[in-house]
């Protein structure tokens, strides 16, 4: 019996070692090479690749997969598994104490890459938070940490406004420990600490760029498996000696090579770091990028492919297996201003949801290959699919229904004759802001024609660019098809906070286009005029959800989404977009990073 057990154990041991040797040798065989990415038109950084100020997915994808490690992060894979919080710099994901208001992180022994070459300490993370707070350093997403806004780190606002010399809510009792004290329990605080702006920054380099937003972008010091090429040639002995790293020219080329100080034994987010280098090259000719992918000169394009190469890959048997669709966790929508006639009437807004040919709008983006029809505000992946079958304005083929729209319009004050058509003068010549993209020129005629069926006519104005126009409340824009919104991290708060709370209404750069929750005081402050009498608010419901954690939180957000679609109706959502990647045949391994909505560069490989 003993001998039998020993034989079985030996067999298991041999099998396991063969398995791991196989996976180890498989990993080794995929290692090496240069992964080349064509970048459409321009990098488009929001802060010149300075992590404190970058707030778009492209930057996040590179930082979190390749260059920067945060206290906690995500597993760099697709789907719900890709939005699970895991430890990265921290030894473990902490459980909050003090009623959910205190988070204590202990740090692994991780080193900065060249030219700094020393262990990361808790003070480096404190410095990055202070840099985020300092308005002179161009920080973005500050509202996620500012205790005067969404409510988070104690003393953050006082530091940001110069009233305090330190952020009182962050303590560094020793080099390996950092403690965050919040003003209120925030169920998504760990998601906020996975944002790249919170990654440790070495003060000895970054101090040279104080008050110069974006300038640090050419000397970003790595903690991840890759660094900017030339980082090891940089002299950080003084600010005057500091030169930009040669691997990033600021505009056309970014080359990342292996960070010699990266220790795979400290890795816990699933980064494989297989290629020896990554080269991102801007190409102003989109067709050229896809031609080069087919010719084997590039592995992929950085952004989601436009419809032409998607169709080519989808209809070519040899390319079809190289086409990857993943949820972009974003919603495209037509926004309606609740203070401007005729959209100050909920029945008109509902009628718009019922008349607009959403399938037609999706065709402008390439048809079903571009995504699914959106029937509510937040993508299903962020609400646990609770609202997957929720479609309050369902029409045949999602192409609009005149009968349903007319029935709704009859309830409107702008249809006094109950004819099903908006006959009031407020429905004629309504200002409509069209965006500057090719797809906007395709969508606008559809919306104009559909609205005319229920008596609403538009005066279309093309704004290039459109966002500055629709983001200015005092312009009182009634309707626009331009907006779309993507998550910042895997929590529906990132939709509701910026899009529907009254606090989000600001004079410039406003993203609560519908002005949900506007009050006379806010209207006066931002210069908005119009009918403020019937504008609902969701602030109280939002506050309830914000304090929840876990499944209760997700269910709360789903309920709020439903409430908005049924009782507020600020939008006509029409597309839950996919991110579609058309890969080259030289790609040996590929994955999608659900957090950033980009390629999981940490888990790709190129054929040798």
């Amino acid at each position: 019996m003993v001998l039998l057990l020993a034989a079985v154990a030996t067999a298991i041991g041999v099998a396991a070692s063969v398995g791991s040797a196989s996976s180890g040798s498989a990993k080794k065989s995929l290692a090496g090479g240069t992964y080349r990415i064509g970048w459409d038109t321009e990098f488009g950084w929001t802060d010149s690749f300075d992590p404190t100020g970058e707030y778009l997915a492209d930057g996040f994808g590179i930082y979190t997969n390749l260059m920067l490690r945060t206290l906690v992060a995500y597993p760099h894979t697709a789907g719900p598994a890709g939005t699970k919080i895991v430890a990265d710099l921290a030894t473990a994901v902490p459980k909050p104490t003090n009623g959910g208001k205190t988070y204590t992180f202990h740090l692994k022994a991780v080193k900065f890459g060249p030219p700094v070459n020393r262990l990361v300490t808790s003070k480096d993370i404190l410095y990055s938070m202070e840099r985020l707070a300092n308005p002179k350093d161009g920080g973005q997403y500050v509202f996620y940490y500012d205790d005067s806004e969404l409510g988070a780190i104690k003393g953050f606002h006082a530091y940001a406004t110069g009233k305090a010399k330190t952020i009182s809510g962050i303590r560094t009792p020793n080099a390996r420990t950092i403690v965050f004290n919040l003003t209120t329990a925030e169920g998504d605080f760990l998601n906020r600490m996975a944002m790249s702006a919170t990654a440790p920054i070495p003060v000895e380099v970054a101090k040279c760029f104080e008050g110069k937003p974006g300038a640090y972008g050419r000397d970003v010091v790595s903690t991840g498996p890759y660094m900017i090429e030339g980082a090891d040639q940089v002299d950080d002995s003084s600010c005057s000696a500091l030169q930009p790293m040669s691997g990033y020219d600021g505009q056309t080329n970014l080359t990342l090579v292996r960070n010699p100080n990266y220790d795979p034994k400290t890795e816990s987010t699933g980064r494989l770091a297989l290629p020896d280098s990554f080269v991102f090259t801007v190409d102003t000719n989109t067709d050229d990028i896809y031609n080069k992918i087919k010719a084997g000169q590039l592995e992929q394009n950085e952004v989601s492919a436009p419809s032409k190469p998607i169709r080519e890959w989808a209809t070519n048997p040899s390319l079809k297996k190289l086409l990857h669709y993943n949820s972009g966790d974003g919603t495209y929508y037509v926004t309606m201003n609740l203070t401007q006639a005729p959209f100050d009437d909920i029945h008109v807004r509902k009628a718009m949801n019922l008349i607009i040919d959403k399938d037609g709008l999706r065709k402008a983006w390439g048809g079903p290959i571009s995504g699914t029809i959106a029937t509510h505000i937040v993508p299903d992946s962020l609400e646990g699919n609770i609202l997957k079958n929720f479609d309050p304005y369902k029409t045949p083929g999602e192409q609009g229904s005149l009968a349903k729209a007319q029935a709704e319009m009859k309830l409107s004050k702008y249809d006094p004759g109950h004819t099903g058509k908006c006959t009031a003068s407020q429905c004629k010549g309504v200002l409509f802001i069209q965006g500057e993209r090719f797809q906007d020129t395709q969508m606008t005629p559809i919306i104009v024609a559909d609205a005319a069926k229920i008596g609403i006519t538009f005066k279309v104005r093309v704004a290039k660019p459109a966002y500055p126009v629709i983001q200015t409340p005092r312009k009182n824009i009634p309707i626009s098809e331009r907006p779309r919104w993507f998550k910042d991290y895997a929590d529906a708060l990132t939709f509701f906070a910026a899009l529907f709370t009254s606090k989000a209404i600001i004079p410039s750069g406003n993203t609560n286009y519908s002005l949900v929750g506007i009050t006379p005081a806010i209207a006066k402050k931002v210069g908005a005029t119009g009918d403020l009498t019937n504008v609902p608010s969701i602030d109280d419901k939002y506050a309830v959800c914000q304090a929840q954690i876990g499944d209760a939180r997700v269910a709360c957000w789903a309920a709020l989404d439903k409430y908005l679609m049924l009782n507020v109706v600020p939008w006509v959502p029409y597309l839950s977009a996919y991110n579609v990647y058309t890969l080259g045949s030289t790609v040996a391994k590929w994955d999608y990073d659900q957090f950033s909505g980009t390629t999981a560069f940490a888990r790709v490989a190129v054929k040798g």
Partner: protein
């Protein structure tokens, strides 16, 4: 002659100042959105916007901003001379961005110019000499094609035929001369030819018409009557007098292409000055837009000056006026 050149220099300076003023008005004063908003990012507070405006120097009165810019333009700034300031996006010096991009555009223009001048004038001369023959018709047909075919289409077709289908190593993108003459030139051969085709067509037609007009002059008949060879009559007497409009056009075309070869640069991913200007205009990076515009304006003014001086040598009547 010295007085003529001096007068032209003064006018050149006047033109540069006028362009500086007009460009400043167009990009800084006319409503085009708030650049601070573009760089403020998501949900900016009024304090953030004020901070950005202060950092970019947009919180000063317009006359202060214009005066400071003009002073730096002529006297230089911390980045060198001329002082074009720094980019709003990233804080790079505008001058460094221009000097990085300028070689791409200048090499593109120079190579294309040599081709179009050689091709255009040659075709024009042959066409004029062989007037109404099948050679003339073929040459003018070629010129018409060059004039009519859109540059972006020519570029895409050239890439499709030569790079993609024939597999020739004429790639997109740009390699500096330091990467080797072959690597440098193989990225420029197609853009040279594409850009030259358009201008060769124009120059061929202008040369033909101008030469035909000149060949009808009395002094040409006299030259022939004196027994000079036909070659000498056409090239030495006829072509020289016909060159005046060619020289005018050449100067202006070179100058305008400095900031204007956007389509060619875009199709072939050269990312020269034209692309820099467009990209900066879309991103409201005003100092870069102003810098490239001023550079183009100075280039046009200087080329005009050179053209005017060349006239004086070509046509003695000009310098005695």
């Amino acid at each position: 002659m010295a007085l003529y050149i001096a007068r032209r220099l003064i006018w050149t300076l006047v033109v540069v100042l006028a362009v500086l003023g007009l460009t400043f008005v167009v990009f800084y004063l006319l409503p085009a959105g708030d650049p601070a908003l573009r760089f403020a990012g998501r949900s900016p507070t009024p304090e953030t916007l004020a901070e950005i405006r202060h950092r970019l120097g947009l919180d000063h009165p317009w006359w202060y901003q214009f005066g400071r810019y003009s002073w730096h333009f002529f006297a230089g700034d911390q980045y060198g001379w001329p002082g074009l300031g720094y980019s709003y996006s990233g804080g790079f010096s505008v001058m460094s961005q221009i000097t990085t991009r300028a070689p791409r555009t200048l090499f593109l223009i120079m190579g294309a110019a040599i081709i179009w001048l050689t091709l255009g004038v040659t075709i024009g001369v042959i066409s004029a000499v062989k007037r109404r023959s099948w050679i003339d018709r073929a040459a003018m047909g070629f010129a018409l094609f060059g004039l009519s075919a859109p540059v972006f289409w020519l570029g895409l077709m050239a890439l499709f035929i030569f790079w993609r289908e024939l597999g020739l190593p004429f790639d997109t993108g740009y390699e500096p001369l330091s990467a080797g003459v072959w690597n440098w030139s193989r990225h420029l051969i197609l853009p040279w030819c594409v850009l030259a085709l358009l201008y060769a067509g124009i120059y061929a037609r202008v040369t033909r018409n101008s030469l035909l007009e000149t060949l009808g002059e009395d002094y040409i008949r006299t030259a022939r009557a004196k027994g000079l060879s036909e070659r000498s009559v056409i090239l030495k007497h006829g072509l020289r007098a016909s060159l005046t409009p060619i020289v005018t056009m050449f100067g202006l075309d070179i100058a305008l292409l400095v900031g204007g070869a956007v389509i060619t640069e875009s199709v072939f991913n050269l990312q020269g000055l034209g692309w820099l200007a467009i990209d900066s205009a879309l991103g409201q990076d005003l100092p870069v837009v102003l810098g490239v515009t001023m550079l183009t304006a100075v280039a046009v003014a200087v080329m005009n000056l050179i053209v005017d001086i060349a006239y004086a040598f070509l046509d003695p009547r000009v310098r005695t006026q």
